[in-house]
Symmetry: C2
Subunit: 444 residues, 2 copies
């Protein structure tokens, strides 16, 4: 018999890749943080001697969810800017608060809260975009969370960097620091078409090509963005990126709610990916990404929650559900995205969009053991005629019982094992009190 | 000091009515199953001597949710008919299974599962439409759940009734049996325009007018329904109801996804109510009820989950969230339905649509103590800048910690106190196995 560290045995297993029917009574064998095999429980018991064997009799075991787009530290602003559309939300509500309050401590506290929320919800990897990305990277690594950290670039000065040169310089230093790290990776994150100039975008393109790094960017998020780009550049933002050479397989277009047929052609030809953030887009009145249409044209679509100030949570399972409702409701063709498609978007496609398709996002031998387990034997999810449909349409992330990142059992028995949750919640509440009271911060 | 049975003290209280800001550190005093007062905790402690005092330090206390439209027993078919649009879903997937399997035992087992799910999710009242309504009524009463039971009428024979006369006769007997019952009430439930003839609708109208009972009906649920009505009657369904005298304040139009300006005029003039079932409508590709437009015209809108075979759960909190996303996303006007509006739709408007607006749906002295309590101190709902927005957009029904129906503490400490949940789940699973295997039932 072969030795493994852990054998997780579950009533149902959804590996995502290889594609196939739901596996009943299967196990995942884990050694040194990686998946060794996915196989029937009986066979696993004869083939492997496990240091730890975990039985989940009424549960579905699947790859951890990948939140392909968020701003983790914005958890501190959850519910702070309601009932406004995207433009005023960003310019009048969020930016002034962020200019006043965001500092390394804020980013650490907000990111810790976000990681606590995500690990509880079975999310094992997130793509982030926020100032002080080095704090995000360090926090993720310390809490044993997988993260792809966006190297943010904007034209204007912030307390983190004085201008494009410094953003890029600091970003590249961060990239070098985490090269080869088992948990943290990086991507270029020029914020949006309306905050980054052509020269900076060209420079990012050259660096990204050379270093083979993804370029994630808010793109076609709102009608206002399109209009402004037309005024300033005489082009829609995606056409502008194309002109600058950024429409290529490294591009990850986040949001994409404003889509003309030529945009779909452009993305398909470019081999670019899209991150669909349905709840944020709806809530801010921006419309919805036409995910079905993009997928039918071969454009990969991942899922993101966006930040908690627009959504208001970091729950990928719930985004999967909303994406499903939207797909059926908007196309009028139920099943235009079936539950299996949605699960793939919430896992493997997310990993791919973050450049991590080879290391996470599915239960395949050799990949990191990033997984979660969900109890289906609760009244709201029972009986189970169809595991995937139940997962997508009758499950809450609060039913997640276990989360593993790189084989480490980070969430179990209702407890996050590597952080002091109560202290994290207290610090978050202290930030809330300070922000709502409105005094202090960098302006004073 | 005055004696009360129970004092529930919570960090935040949302009474819904009277309308006003979130109440901080308030209590609800309960005596003989009814609300005596809603007042600051400190004042409550000096005014009342309570047999039981319950402290919920990080929780929001609010009226129990009202699920204004469901088919409770369909929980047994959760996930059984995926990826099909409404017409084939109903005629090819659901009806054949129901013809074969639905009997009193099925209705009891499915309704028990539904009540278990709803009480856990803070739902304290549901409007039902299913064959064997007497079983639904008895099950609700036994499990201490409030229900308004639809007296189903269709033209065709089922195992429950041979034709309209018998449906109505049995329905009226059920109504008489439960008159004055503290938990169970009834309404007329002619199934849909395509399953009930004019003569039957006229008879129901006369009875409803005489007995002052609501008439709940699936209406303008799908484009197919409109088309069929035009072919058979030369009228849209709502126009047909108007011609028959059914467009009046007793009408409760369920779904209403297909809406022309004249429909809004008709409903507004009639004083009728609408039940919005956003998840079911989207999932079956039927579109969405224009809730904002209806509310702006003074048409009351409640929320329903529909049955678990189309949704796939009975989670009113989640419907409230979807309704909010849809309202902002479809109108492009975030805040066209604010969180407070959504909460009112999910509680008081539901009670009103079921004819129960005087007895439940808000925390007002004299009403039954139908309430629920939700823990907000979890990473996904913290910090709390805005209680209502957090409730709607960053909460799961799985965070409900307590549910009371008519003052009875039916759900507490993770346990349903008046049913054997494990047995209910086992029976549901046995039905699943039988239905999926496809043998047995009434056809054999």
């Amino acid at each position: 018999m072969e030795s493994v560290d852990t054998l997780v045995c579950a009533r149902w297993v959804l590996p995502v890749e290889p594609d196939g029917p739901t596996l009943a009574d299967h196990a995942v064998a884990i050694r040194a943080g990686r998946i060794v095999a996915v196989l029937p429980i009986e066979e696993a018991r004869t083939r492997y001697r496990a240091d730890e064997s975990i039985e989940r009799a009424h549960h579905v075991l699947l790859p951890g969810f990948v939140n392909a787009h968020t701003h983790a530290a914005m958890t501190l602003l959850r519910g702070r800017a309601e009932n406004v559309s995207f433009g005023p939300w960003l310019r009048e509500a969020i930016w002034p608060i962020e200019r006043r309050w965001v500092d390394p401590e804020y980013v650490r506290d907000g990111t810790e809260l976000a990681i606590a929320e995500m690990l509880r919800a079975g999310v094992t990897c997130f793509g982030d975009m926020h100032l002080w990305p080095e704090i995000v990277a360090r926090t993720a690594a310390e809490l044993h969370m997988r993260a792809s950290v966006g190297l943010v670039v904007v034209e204007s000065a912030t307390r983190w960097a004085s201008g494009p040169n410094e953003y890029i310089e600091k970003g590249l230093a961060l990239r070098d620091e985490y090269r080869g790290d088992p948990l943290v990776s990086t991507f270029f994150a020029p914020h949006a078409p309306y905050t980054v100039d052509d020269a900076t975008l060209l420079r990012i393109r050259r660096l990204a090509d050379e270093l083979e790094m993804q370029v994630g960017m808010h793109l076609h998020e709102s009608a206002w963005e399109i209009e402004r780009s037309r005024e300033l550049h005489g082009l829609r933002p995606l056409d502008r990126l194309k002109k600058l050479g950024l429409a290529n397989p490294l591009l990850v277009a986040v949001h994409l709610t404003q889509v003309e047929p030529s945009d779909v052609d452009c993305l398909a030809a470019a081999g670019a990916a899209v991150v669909h953030c349905p709840q944020s887009n709806l809530k801010l009145g921006n419309g919805a990404c036409p995910a079905t249409e993009l997928l039918e044209r071969g454009v990969p679509v991942a899922l993101g929650t966006d930040g908690a100030a627009s959504n208001n949570d970091l729950d990928v399972l719930s985004e999967m559900q909303t994406a499903g409702f939207l797909a059926s409701g908007i196309t009028g063709r139920p099943g235009s995205l079936v539950s299996k498609d949605l699960l793939r978007m919430a896992t493997l496609e997310g990993a791919r969009a973050l450049g991590l398709g080879d290391v996470t996002g599915s239960l395949e031998a050799g990949k990191w053991a990033d997984l979660c387990c969900i109890d289906l034997r609760v009244p709201a999810s029972w009986p189970v005629h169809d595991v995937e449909a139940t997962l997508v349409y009758a499950c809450s992330a609060r039913q997640v019982t276990d989360t593993w990142v790189a084989g480490r059992h980070v969430y179990a028995e209702g407890t996050l094992r590597y952080l002091d949750e109560s202290a994290v919640l207290d610090r978050a509440d202290a930030w809330r009190a300070r922000i709502d009271a409105g005094h202090g911060g960098s302006d004073e």
